[in-house]
Symmetry: C2
Subunit: 110 residues, 2 copies
């Protein structure tokens, strides 16, 4: 099925997972998966959280930022892909001057 993000309302999620500022997300969800187009403005972040029973795959579409994954920083830019396996933790940080826009999948592994 097509998932047209332009047809999905962009919702503001304040201090998502304890992060800074607002995480804006257009999200499709069913019992097996979340599929989203996310946006973090300059200085915003998704707080550190552990993926229990699921994982997360992030593909950067526009902008720059960094992922803190199991204590290690990863530099991200358009085309970067980062994977947080089940049982691991990560935080996504926009420390750039522009928007950080990404495609992400959170599959349930059960």
């Amino acid at each position: 099925m097509l998932i047209d993000f332009s047809d999905i309302e962009e919702k503001p999620l304040e201090h998502f997972k304890g992060g800074e500022g607002t995480f804006f997300a257009r999200m499709f969800t069913d019992p097996k998966v979340k599929i989203m187009r996310g946006r973090l403005e300059h200085g915003a972040s998704i707080g550190l959280h552990t993926h229990e029973g699921n994982s997360e795959i992030v593909f950067i579409l526009e902008g720059k930022g960094k992922m803190l994954c199991d204590g290690k920083y990863e530099e991200l830019s358009a085309g970067s892909c980062t994977y947080c396996p089940e049982g691991h933790e990560h935080s996504l940080i926009n420390d750039s001057k522009g928007d950080l826009i990404f495609f992400a999948v959170v599959p349930e592994h059960h």
Copy 2:
């Protein structure tokens, strides 16, 4: 963890799932997920197959093509996202004149 597709060899998969021509894939895999950057040349396709125990999320990066999903054609271009839930079937077809390049995730739901 970063997944750098430029560090992953692009492997040719002939007549993948019974499709036409060659599917070229740079693929990361672990027991829970496959994460890939795929390429179909003009006229190539991934044959019709059903996702049993897993699903597939495809995000188009470059080019044009179509997905046949549960008997219905979906037109795809850069930025399109299509989801084949567990238990459903699909086929990806490059009926354009250029390459069709996509990012895809195949999560295991068990």
